[in-house]
């Protein structure tokens, strides 16, 4: 049962490979939005139309394979329990929007979880392809192939002038959102990132925290993505994003170097305090968890900590989310109970490393 796998493994199989620059770039993603040409978009479509699309996906793609993406599994949102949907959201396999509003939504997910297709979200089709580390071009090439494969059986809504037609005017044209997830602890610690963000925005790119409110980025994890989808080719957009990410990687490395040169002991102290908190707390909130995990991951990357695996940040960030915790406990938990279970899971997980 693939659904069981999606639920039980915190880290998607594709995350276990280390990609280029994976000390800073956690993952690269390409998302393409597509629609059927003759069916109204999900916000306005009749239930009957949406049902037809779900049936079509189930018939044509369930248990199919394409290239490296084996054993595609189609699930209907209506067949999932709330906690199951939440876990898929926490693993970034579906959007909160699909989980909440998509009673006629579905998802097609490959065994490796590298590809997931959201059906009847804001658009009929939104699929995303993940690669570990910094591999935007590779992700784009694979996304194009996957797109061609889908298009063999689907008449897309496409217009010569406007490109791929989407429900929201902000996605029309390429329908593409290219993004990278970056861990930028040194740029955040030295507050350089807040000065860089406006400049990045000016290039038509958006920076946002993955976990956290507003511009705050819990765990110092930032997502950088393109905003413009019309009038520029996918390759140009990806190239712009790539060059900005390159700069950020370079700056983050410099900032880490500088931190070590100027305040090695303070940095080491901070990292080991966080390590201690994770190893010994009995109650821990998600915010503190994210901060400590970011410190520990930095400690691993700069060599202070050598006996902990690098994937700990990704893994524990997902496992300690509310949905996962409750899936693990097999029941609904109050926030206080979550904080207790979170602390104990982290302690157990760190013991495994020894």
């Amino acid at each position: 049962m693939s659904l069981q796998q999606f639920m039980n493994e915190a880290i998607s199989p594709w995350m276990k490979d280390e990609g280029p620059d994976s000390d800073i770039v956690m993952s690269s993603r390409i998302r393409l939005a597509r629609n059927f040409d003759q069916t109204p978009f999900p916000i306005i479509a009749e239930n009957e139309d949406l049902e037809k699309i779900l049936d079509f996906f189930n018939q044509e793609y369930h248990q199919q394979s394409f290239k490296n993406y084996h054993d595609l599994e189609f699930v209907r949102m209506s067949d999932l329990k709330p906690i199951e949907k939440r876990v898929l959201v926490e693993k970034h396999l579906i959007s909160p929007h699909l989980a909440e509003n998509g009673k006629l939504g579905g998802a097609l997910i490959s065994k490796s979880e590298q590809v997931s297709v959201m059906v009847n979200e804001e658009d009929h089709i939104r699929f995303q392809l993940y690669f570990p580390g910094f591999q935007l071009e590779e992700a784009l090439a694979q996304a194009f192939d996957f797109d061609d494969w889908l298009e063999e059986k689907i008449n897309y809504a496409f217009d010569e002038t406007r490109g791929y037609l989407t429900s929201c005017p902000t996605n029309v044209g390429t329908g593409m959102r290219a993004s990278v997830m970056m861990h930028l602890p040194a740029l955040a610690l030295t507050q350089k990132i807040s000065r860089m963000i406006p400049a990045i925005n000016q290039l038509g790119l958006v920076v946002r925290g993955i976990y956290g409110e507003g511009s705050e980025a819990l765990g110092n994890i930032f997502q950088i993505s393109n905003q413009i989808t019309l009038g520029r080719s996918e390759r140009d957009i990806v190239e712009d994003l790539r060059s900005v990410v390159n700069k950020l990687v370079e700056q983050e490395r410099k900032a880490r170097q500088l931190l070590i040169e100027q305040s090695e002991l303070q940095l080491e102290d901070r990292i080991f305090r966080s390590y201690g908190v994770l190893e010994h707390s009995r109650i821990i909130e998600s915010k503190e968890t994210a901060i400590c995990l970011s410190d520990v991951r930095l400690g691993i990357d700069v060599g202070f900590i050598s006996n902990v695996s690098k994937t700990i940040l990704n893994e524990l960030l997902v496992v300690t989310q509310p949905g996962f915790l409750q899936h693990y406990a097999k029941k609904t938990l109050s926030p206080q109970d979550r904080d207790i279970l979170r602390a104990s899971l982290i302690r157990e997980r760190l013991k495994l490393e020894k």
Partner: protein
């Protein structure tokens, strides 16, 4: 999509909020956004409605004649899905692919604002259904080239390009019956 707070007005503000580490998407109308204090997440919030209504003001003040026709144009209705232009500006979402054609005349200013001045797609063309668009683009390229060659009096090359164009047009005539109106 309706506002999740009042369930009355359409949701025009869409953003992500994180409570205790769990992410939720918020879809509210402007009224409720202010009332419930969502607006403090101003940076994350993105209101297409603002953009569109701002656009109207801009248009009407700039173009007196247009403003007379404004009510007519807002009455535009997509024959396929039934969405009116007014609804589109309120919800900020198209109802179907045909909306793009129905509202076509009003879309350029919107796209310009959302996409840094761009109004025409550059990039991927669907491999299967777009193959004749691809051919058409190629053909147009040849036609331009032909004009250039004639102007620069390179007649020998021009003749070659003309033959290529003839060849392509003949192929198109046999492959797609009636489909390829250029």
């Amino acid at each position: 999509m309706e506002c999740q707070e009042c369930h009355e007005r359409p949701a025009t503000l869409h953003f992500t909020k994180v409570v205790n580490g769990s992410k939720t998407e918020i879809h509210v109308c402007e009224h409720c956004a202010k009332e419930k204090g969502y607006v403090s997440y101003g940076e994350e919030a993105y209101s297409l409605h603002d953009l569109l209504s701002g656009l109207f003001n801009f248009d009407t003040s700039l173009n007196e004649q247009k403003s007379k026709n404004l009510s007519d144009e807002q009455g535009l209705k997509c024959p396929k899905c039934g969405m009116t232009y007014k609804e589109f500006t309120q919800v900020g979402k198209f109802g179907c692919a045909s909306c793009y054609h129905t509202f076509s005349d009003r879309l350029n200013p919107i796209f310009r604002r959302v996409h840094s001045g761009n109004i025409v797609h550059e990039g991927k063309i669907p491999k299967r259904i777009g193959s004749n668009i691809y051919q058409k683009k190629l053909l147009n390229g040849y036609k331009e080239k032909l004009q250039q060659l004639i102007q620069s009096e390179e007649f020998e090359q021009a003749a070659q390009v003309r033959d290529q164009i003839k060849e392509m047009e003949k192929e198109k005539g046999t492959n797609h019956d009636g489909e390829g109106e250029v």
